[in-house]
């Protein structure tokens, strides 16, 4: 660790992983509820489980991004963090707000939570992924502002590199587009239109900047390849991300009341969206091939290459499968969407956070040379278990989706109803649940790897 203040990243990473475990637990509950609707009813209805599952995902990724920023910004800027104390205070504020919100979801009925938090005054609740009470949303804004202030001041007083500029652009974009979550018109078509300005412009826009910057940082560190080369690629990748992704938002504007021209614009631009992901994979492999150093932390390289590959599969390939309007007409809102969502979020965002953790956490724990080989071995097993089972889950959900489309969407007359269709698909949901258990095993192995201390704590070159 080059700068003392990088240490503030540690609690962020640890808490992110705890929330990740919670997310997976609720994923399993939902996997059960898909098969047996009585599971935990009425204690945890499906909508509550889903809200917890998706909100934990968003929050743990935000913790991960913040941890990543606190770790890499001082090192890139070659200066201590502007105010480490503020980072620690904000950690506790955010953690407390997050935990309180999740407990609110679980302990009181949602309508009661809305009443308690004064949703009438400024209604923003009850929209997918933005279920947080309005006061929690305000809390998120406060935390984000303090965070960006802290990071921004650090960059301003230190060295400006492409990596830290792109990271901070992504983080500012994240905060700015979140403001659309406070706009909730009664007109549903308008509501949905601007809801995507948060959701799409996050996951297919500014988050990709954050992803690109973190990946570039890790690649610089683990390969020793010339910074010029890596930064040029980073510019090209995020350029294409935004060129394709901004108007690519049109693929969400097919069926929500928006004009017909979005069918063409959305199809065309979103068909280009896999290109930056392909370039990212191309560049990750080529940078690793050119590597000039061979660090003992080998597993970090595996994570970096794995992120690029799985992001391409999940966001690129699985996105493309159903992005064109004529296809999407039949697949919109089926299990195919769920399949894409799982692989894309895991491959791009969950994995980039685990990549930076895999690189930075050993250093934060005083293991400058990376974790001992015994720990890396377990982490490698965890990597493959999680990746393979997530691909399996995606394939199972894709099969479920195709099955659903053929029964429920394609027939013009005599189509099978929703619930009957779901009942027929049940065998596939069993497979999905089993793969979910395998994923949980992978996660358990991953968490366990942090507690393995090898006999040789430090090894020299």
């Amino acid at each position: 660790m080059k700068y003392e203040s990088q240490k503030v990243a540690k609690p962020y990473f640890i808490f992110a992983l705890i929330l990740f475990a919670g997310q997976v637990l609720f994923g399993l509950i939902m996997g059960m509820q898909y098969i047996d609707g009585d599971t935990l009813f009425p204690y945890i209805p499906f909508n509550v489980a889903r809200m917890v599952h998706t909100n934990l995902l968003i929050v743990w990724l935000l913790f991960g991004f913040m941890g990543a920023a606190y770790y890499l910004i001082p090192e890139e800027s070659e200066t201590e963090l502007f105010c480490p104390k503020l980072a620690i205070v904000m950690f506790w504020v955010f953690a407390a707000a997050g935990v309180a919100t999740i407990l609110g979801y679980l302990l009181v009925p949602y309508a009661e939570l809305a009443r308690l938090t004064g949703n009438v005054i400024w209604p923003t609740m009850g929209r997918e992924f933005l279920e947080q009470p309005t006061i929690t949303k305000l809390g998120i804004v406060v935390v984000a502002l303090a965070f960006i202030f802290n990071i921004g001041m650090t960059v301003l007083k230190g060295r400006k590199t492409v990596i830290n500029l792109i990271l901070i652009t992504g983080l500012i974009g994240l905060a700015v587009f979140f403001l659309f979550s406070f706009y909730n018109p009664i007109n549903l078509a308008l509501d949905k239109f601007f809801w995507w300005w948060v959701v799409h412009l996050w996951v297919e826009g500014v988050w990709e900047l954050i992803l690109g910057a973190i990946l570039a940082f890790v690649l610089v560190k683990i390969t020793g390849v010339d910074r010029e080369y890596i930064e040029k690629w980073l510019y090209l990748i995020i350029a294409l991300t935004l060129i394709s992704g901004l108007v690519g938002m049109g693929h969400h504007y097919y069926w929500i009341g928006t004009p017909k021209y979005w069918l063409w614009l959305g199809s065309f631009f979103s068909a280009l969206e896999p290109i930056p992901f392909f370039m990212m994979m191309l560049y990750a492999f080529s940078v690793v091939k050119k590597r000039r150093i061979n660090p003992n932390n080998k597993i970090a390289t595996t994570w970096a290459l794995g992120t690029a590959t799985m992001a391409f599969l999940g966001a690129g390939v699985w996105g493309f499968i159903h992005t064109l309007a004529p296809v999407n007409y039949y697949t919109h809102g089926t299990q195919i969407t769920a399949a894409h969502g799982h692989l894309a979020f895991f491959g791009a965002y969950a994995m980039i956070v685990m990549t930076i953790i895999s690189y930075a956490m050993p250093i934060l724990r005083g293991r400058e040379e990376g974790n001992p080989p015994e720990a890396q071995k377990v982490e490698r097993i965890a990597f493959w278990l999680m990746c393979i089972s997530m691909i399996g889950i995606t394939l199972a959900l894709t099969a479920a989706g195709v099955w659903q489309v053929s029964l429920q969407r394609l027939p013009e007359t005599g189509a099978t109803g929703f619930i009957d269709t779901q009942t027929q698909i049940n065998p596939v949901y069993w497979i999905r649940l089993l793969l979910g258990l395998l994923f949980t095993a992978g996660l358990a192995a991953y968490l366990a790897s942090f507690f393995i201390s090898g006999r040789t704590e430090s090894r020299s070159a």
């Binding site: 009813f41 919109h332 007359t413 189509a415």
Partner: protein, 148 residues
């Protein structure tokens, strides 16, 4: 591949490209805002529809159902439930909604369960109005059939 592209060229592609397409998106947004009134039948939004949307949101219906294909995929699509269950007739649909909301959760072992939300008559009526209004948005003929 990119030997001839210098870093400053790459930076210009990034700034120029993203600025251009962001402005393009803003332009499209303005155009869509102009077109939407012709398609979303906003003139029919009554106080009851607004109440319905509030009920919809404060009970997190989107956590199980989809509405115009967006939401969770656990329970049926509701943008066309007015046509599916009400056969396009408001009175039939409101009658259906009243009964349907009151009999939840249904006592069918293993079936996916909808909680009892204890809504007032006015709230159920508003919810029905909200769903009727939603079904009349011009959404390019989605979904492909009545089953949604």
């Amino acid at each position: 591949m990119s030997e001839r592209i210098t870093k400053s060229m790459a930076r210009n592609i990034y700034f120029g490209g993203s600025l251009f397409f962001f402005l393009f998106l803003i332009g499209l947004t303005f155009d869509t805002m102009g077109e939407l009134p012709k398609r979303d039948n906003r003139e029919n939004i009554t106080a009851s529809v607004a109440l319905g949307k509030k009920v919809w949101e404060e009970n997190d219906c989107i956590g199980c159902h989809t509405l115009m294909g967006e939401g969770a995929y656990y329970a049926p699509e509701l943008a066309n439930v007015f046509n599916r269950r009400g056969k396009g007739d408001e009175k039939t649909f409101k009658q259906f909604m009243k009964v349907w909301m009151s009999i939840q959760p249904m006592d069918k072992p293993g079936r996916r369960k909808m909680p009892q939300f204890n809504l007032s008559d006015e709230e159920v009526n508003g919810l029905a109005d909200f769903l009727i209004w939603t079904s009349r948005i011009n959404d390019n003929d989605w979904p492909p059939n009545i089953e949604g």
